[in-house]
Amino acid sequence: MAEFLKCSGCGRVLFHTELQQSWKVCGHCGWHHRLSARERIEATFDPGSFEELDAELRSTDPLGFPEYADKLAAAEQKTGLRDAVVSGTAMLGGLPVCAAVSDFAFMGGSMGSVAGEKIVRTLERAAETRRAAIVFCASGGARMQEGMLSLMQLPKTIAGVQRCREAGVPYIAVFTDPTMAGVLASYASVADVILAEPRAMVGFAGARVSKQAGVGKVPDDFQMAEFAHKHGFIDRIVPRAEMRDVLAALVRILGARLYGG
């Protein structure tokens, strides 16, 4: 990582050392810069408790889509990940949970067959092992390069949510920047509790798609977490510094029956 970056919120130059202490939240304007999946895991779960599962899942470029194989290879190189979701088990406030975390740096966090499979396995695992499920979203939507197979990840992941509901295990989603389109229109929006980071982009149609559809002037807070919150689709906007405590409390209280009160 570079030693400094320019804040997307206020334009000030921020040094890596100061950002590290605040998990990349700008000390001047409060802008929440994106975290990688690894950083998110470190920032959220009990130290050293995360155990990755399903790490060997990989896309096979099922459509032979132009340039997809190259993009996958470049994303692997850039992030050290094999796809846009990292999943596994972890402890949170001393309680075991099943977790999945998206990484926007891997092809915009887009959901193809692998990301969908990791999400549904996480939710199924939570239902089977009777633990709370926590999913951090960061995605532009479905992955175009897998065509209809990506669209089918919407019902696939929602089937996992159905399992959690039937098993009575709480499923908490956290919308981070950005949570869009095919991800928002599937497992993200039907979580039992939805939290969001301040000013995360949250919406259905991306700017280029809405422009083509002729959507005109939009409000200033359009497709921001605050807009979705105001309209009743997000439970709470939670600053990053408070996220782990809020999540831990929710898991403890909602999961009282699972964890023996």
Partner: protein, 326 residues
């Protein structure tokens, strides 16, 4: 440069048809019986050629041509099909929350003597209708109405048939404010949980989340020239190459045809269209679709409510292709 609309692409057909119409007028006015029969022979010859031409054209539709045909205005829409295959249909309106969305319609019906619920996206043909139907782009209240109707069907123990034909869900500010994404996700969740048989059919444009929001049946059918896509090809080209005019390239890459969907295991069955496409013989197209729906319902009839749910879970759980190994 690829044609942009179905009309532009079918222009040679229209020109031949116009030529034949002119010859017919001449023949009707012709007093001399010898000359008239010569004209009539010519007309018959041109009609044969036209039929051959249409056959050839429609037997080799590429992905982009399928996009144009799937969007063709004369194609049978949801209400046309309901009228053709159901002896009774009582449209029920409203989501009991906010309003009524004319872009998704539905209600109880009698299909070949059998009571069912049928619903689907509805497009319009002229300017006023298109505006009224919002070009078939449903808003949150459309999906919430669909949930209400599907759950009513469930309580009545009646099968649900859904017809998919939408370019996309409505991307506007109001739809965003009323939770279009949540409405779609919730509709998928509700449909997956139904305890009655469900059959979905893509009849024209299967546009992404907007389509699958009411598309997760136990059986999924697709008309021969319909398309089903994660994103409109023009949108895909705009995002990937910043060239929306390369929709034809994107259409090929996205594998959005019924034939590809069947190969990828995403649909159960392709419903053949009459020669020259569903819009040439809408009644015949509806009959063929009706046959496929009837057969699909018959296949599902032996399944118990729990088995229907388990079948749906297993079906959608298995979607996707990836490798797993070191």
């Amino acid at each position: 440069m690829a044609a942009k609309t179905w009309k532009e692409w079918e222009k040679p057909v229209l020109e031949l048809q116009e030529g034949i119409a002119k010859l017919s007028q001449l023949a009707a006015k012709e007093a001399d019986s010898v000359r008239r029969s010569a004209l009539e022979a010519k007309i018959a010859e041109y009609e044969r050629r036209l039929a051959n031409y249409i056959d050839t054209l429609y037997s080799r539709l590429g992905p982009w041509e399928k996009v144009l045909v799937a969007r063709a205005e004369p194609r049978p829409y949801t209400l046309d099909i309901i009228q053709a295959i159901c002896s009774e249909f009582i449209e029920l309106e409203g989501d009991r929350r906010f309003g009524n969305d004319p872009a998704i319609i539905g209600g109880p019906a009698v299909f070949r003597g059998r009571p069912i619920f049928i619903l689907g996206h509805q497009k319009g043909r002229n300017i006023q209708e298109r505006q009224y139907r919002n070009f078939g782009m449903a808003k949150p209240e459309g999906y919430r109405k669909a949930i209400r109707l599907m759950q009513l069907a469930d309580r009545c123990g009646l099968p649900v048939v859904t017809l998919l034909d939408t370019p996309a869900a409505d991307p506007g500010v109001e739809s965003e404010a009323r939770g279009i994404s949540e409405a779609i996700a919730d509709s998928i969740l509700a449909m997956l949980g139904l305890r009655v048989p469900t059959v979905s059919a893509v009849i024209g444009e299967g546009g992404s989340g907007g389509a699958i929001g009411i598309g997760v049946g136990n059986r999924v059918l697709m008309l021969e020239h319909a398309i089903y896509s994660v994103i409109p090809p023009e949108g895909c080209a705009a995002i990937l190459w910043r060239q929306p005019e390369r929709g034809d390239d994107a259409a090929a890459a996205l594998r959005l045809t019924a034939q590809s969907a069947l190969e990828l295991g995403l649909i159960d069955r392709i419903v053949p269209e009459p020669k020259g496409g569903a819009h040439r013989s809408p009644a015949e197209a509806a009959r063929l679709l009706g046959d496929a729906i009837e057969e699909s319902l018959a296949e599902l009839d032996p399944l118990s409510p729990d088995e229907l749910r388990a079948h749906r879970y297993a079906k959608y759980r298995a979607m996707g292709r990836f490798s797993e190994g070191v």
